[in-house]
Symmetry: C2
Subunit: 228 residues, 2 copies
DNA sequence: GACGATATTTAGGCACGGCGAATTTCAGAA
DNA sequence: TTCTGAAATTCGCCGTGCCTAAATATCGTC
C-alpha cells in the first residue's frame, strides 16, 4: 500500500486522525468532521472506506485509530508537509505565514526522490519553520526536551520559543511583536481567569491573550545538562 | 478567469492544443486524443466544455484554436512546467531525464508567488534543461536564432545542441553518448533513405538514427553577427 | 453520389466525496 | 431502570468530472 493508491482527501483524513490521536485517545468522528470542515455523515462514510483499506481501525461509536500502515502514510504526508515548509522558507525565502498553504498542496504531489533531495539540501533537519518536528523516514519523531505551552510555563525563568501554531493570522501577529522561533523571553505575570499573560521580550514587555499563549511552546533558555 | 477555476485535466488539454496549433493550423480532434491518450469522443466532450468557458474556439469538424484567455492559461502552465524543470535540475540536482515527470505534477499546484520566487532564484531564465523556451509572464516566448533540427542541418559546419525532446528514454540515450545541451558537434555524413546520420563529437564519432536526429535541435556554433 | 476518414452526439458508467434527514447507539441523569 | 440528549451511523441522494462504445453526422474525394 503506497500513497499513490489513495486520494488526497484520504491523505488529509489520515493526517487529521494522526493529530487527533496523539493523546492516545481514539479520534471522535465529530472532531475529524470539525477539523476537515465536513459533515459527520461524510466522515462516517470515509472512515468506512479507510477501514476497508485497513488504514484505520474504526470502532463504531467509539472512535478511530490508525493502523500501522495508516500511521506510516500519515507520517509520510506530515514529513512531506514540514520538509516543504522548511524548504520554501530556507531556499526560497517564503515568509513563515505562507508556507503552510503552499505545502498543503505540494505535499501530495512530490516524489520520494524529491523529498530526499530536499531533506539532503537542508541537512536532514528535525524541525520545520514553526518548530514542529519533522518525522524521520523510519517513523521516529524528533523531540524538543523541556518544551511546554506558554500557558504552562513558570514565571521568572529564562525561556525561548520552540514552537508556534501554523495559523497565518497568529504568525503575522507574532511577527508584529518581534516573536519568532528561538526568541528569548520570560513570563512576568500571569493574570487569572483568562486574563492576559505579560512576557518580557528583550528590553520590552508584551501582553499575550490566553489564546495565543496556548499556541506557543517554550523551553528553558539554558537547558540544564542531564546525566544519561 | 484564472487557473484555479479549471481542472488539471482542462489545463492539460489547453497545453496540448497550444502545442498542436504552433504551426498555425487548428488542432484536429484526433491529434488531441492521441496526444492525451483518450478517445476522440472524450475530446469532443471536453472541447465543448472548454468552448463554453471561452477558452477555445471549436469549429465543428474543422479543428480547435485557443482564445486569448485559453492561450494565456496554456502558457502559464507551460511556464510553470519549464521553470520547475529548470529549478529541479539546478537547485536540487534532479537529472534531466526525470524533471519532466515531476514537473508534470507540480505545475498544477504551485502558486504565482512561488513561480516568481523560483524564476528570481534562477535569474529569470529563458530556457529549460532541454533547451525549450520558457514563456515570459507577458506571453512572449524567447527564441533561439538559427535553431533547426539535426535532420535539417548542413554537413561540415560547426554546430551546438540547443534543444532536445524531453522523452526520458532519448535523454538517457544521449547521456550515454555524452550529448547534452550546448555540446559542440558537426554533421559528417547523412545517409539517405532513413539511414543513420554520422556526427563528430569532440574527437569521436557517433551514429544517430533519424528518429533521434528529428528530436535534436542545433544552431551554428559561432553565430555570425547580423546587422539589424 | 457513394465511400472512407474524421468528428460528434447519445446514452451511460464509474469513482469520488459530499450532504440532509432519519435512525441508532451510548452514556449519564433522574 | 428508564429516559434523554448528544454523538454517530445509515440511507438515499446529488453533483462533478472524466471517460467510453455505439450510433450518427459531416467532410473531402474519387
Amino acid at each position: 500500500m503506497d500513497r499513490s493508491a489513495i486520494s488526497t482527501a484520504m491523505q488529509d483524513y489520515l493526517k487529521a486522525i494522526w493529530d487527533l490521536t496523539r493523546s492516545g485517545e481514539a479520534a471522535p468522528t465529530s472532531a475529524i468532521a470539525e477539523r476537515l470542515e465536513v459533515s459527520a455523515a461524510s466522515v462516517s462514510g470515509m472512515l468506512k472506506r479507510l477501514a476497508a483499506l485497513e488504514l484505520v481501525v474504526h470502532e463504531p461509536y467509539q472512535g478511530t485509530r490508525l493502523t500501522v500502515t495508516g500511521r506510516r502514510l500519515a507520517l509520510e504526508m506530515i514529513r512531506h508537509h514540514r520538509l516543504i515548509e522548511l524548504y520554501l522558507a530556507e531556499a526560497l525565502g517564503v515568509p513563515w505565514d505562507r508556507v503552510h498553504e503552499e505545502a498543503e498542496r505540494l505535499e501530495h504531489v512530490i516524489s520520494e526522490d524529491l523529498e530526499r533531495r530536499m531533506a539532503a539540501h537542508l541537512g536532514d533537519p528535525h524541525f520545520d519553520p514553526h518548530g514542529a518536528p519533522i518525522p524521520r523516514m523510519d517513523g521516529e519523531i524528533p523531540s524538543m526536551p523541556g518544551s511546554r505551552t506558554l500557558i504552562e510555563a513558570e514565571a521568572g525563568a529564562p525561556l525561548r520559543v520552540t514552537q508556534v501554531d501554523d495559523d497565518p493570522e497568529l504568525l503575522r501577529y507574532l511577527d508584529g511583536h518581534g516573536i519568532g522561533l528561538g526568541t528569548p523571553l520570560e513570563v512576568v505575570t500571569r493574570e487569572p481567569f483568562g486574563g492576559p499573560l505579560v512576557v518580557r521580550l528583550g528590553r520590552g514587555e508584551c501582553r499575550l491573550g490566553p489564546e495565543a499563549a496556548h499556541r506557543i511552546r517554550v523551553a528553558p533558555h539554558e537547558p540544564q545538562e542531564s546525566e544519561s
